[in-house]
Symmetry: C2
Subunit: 175 residues, 2 copies
């Protein structure tokens, strides 16, 4: 039986952080950038009076429209799919208004995967896969397989998990 | 650690079959009923020229609006939730247009569950729970836990799984 890899979507396949920053900077005439977010989340760095608004960005159907994947993400997932069973597991329950836009993005950008392999969930501890590639280490706590931490500014200080900096490193690890 | 039970939604918690029959009979002036569906699916019993149309019913946002749960379903799930970790796992990827309506139904009818415990998926083989209560035995094939078959007309001839006829039997099995 092939091994199974679950892959997170936001900040692992797609660069939602850049979109958050773009929208925030545009709406509030700010100049926040990734370098400002070392070991912290964007919600902890925007002006406090803007937090509630910034948290709604992913509810906008346009937030995921044409959002770019990270470099090599699509080609590496396609290659992984030749040797592993690949599942896309996204914590969509925090933004239920994003269901449709996320589904559309996945179908359009990962046409080689069956939608039967998409999982919109909250807790990822219920996943029965061998690996979970995710930028959020909280999902690894009760996960039965091995968590692989995908580097993001907010997780810069996390230790205790195997870490990949980019999709080339995912390829090197699994292929 | 508490044991985990995943519970299917359609034809396990909510009576989607009755709604299918109601809508079909109304639109096409038919009188199909559950007794006509012994060991078969509705899609195999409606007139062949109506199949494509009937398959679209769950894509209508009104399909899940105010759809009634089976008798005792809510109270039994609420009681199970005191002793088990409960997840609602629904094969929503076949009807992505239903995401929002399903989410709304679950939030309104199961307010004692966190949306973090809702899973919209395709294949349920990725679930890492001890039990899966479901009317579709296909989901049990690669499921790591024990499948509990919730009786429905279409699965009348299925053998090889523990079976429950209704929610009172679920209560008796688990509590």
């Amino acid at each position: 039986m092939r091994k199974r890899i679950a892959i997170d979507m936001d900040e692992t396949i797609v660069d939602t952080l850049s979109r958050h920053l773009d929208w925030y900077n545009r709406e509030f005439s700010q100049s926040l950038c990734k370098a400002d977010l070392h070991a912290t989340k964007i919600y902890d760095r925007v002006l406090v009076e803007h937090v509630a608004r910034v948290r709604t960005y992913p509810d906008d159907p346009d937030f995921f429209a044409n959002i770019p994947p990270y470099e090599n993400a699509i080609s590496v997932i396609k290659d992984l799919n030749e040797h592993y069973d690949i599942y896309i597991a996204t914590a969509a329950m925090e933004h239920p208004a994003s269901f449709g836009a996320k589904y559309t993005w996945l179908v359009e950008n990962l046409p080689f995967l069956s939608p039967m392999n998409f999982i919109f969930c909250g807790s990822k501890s219920i996943l029965n896969t061998d690996y979970l590639i995710d930028d959020s280490p909280r999902h690894f706590t009760h996960f039965a397989g091995e968590g692989i931490l995908f580097s993001a500014p907010h997780n810069a200080n996390e230790t205790g998990f195997r870490r990949v900096e980019n999709w080339q490193e995912v390829r090197a690890m699994f292929l």
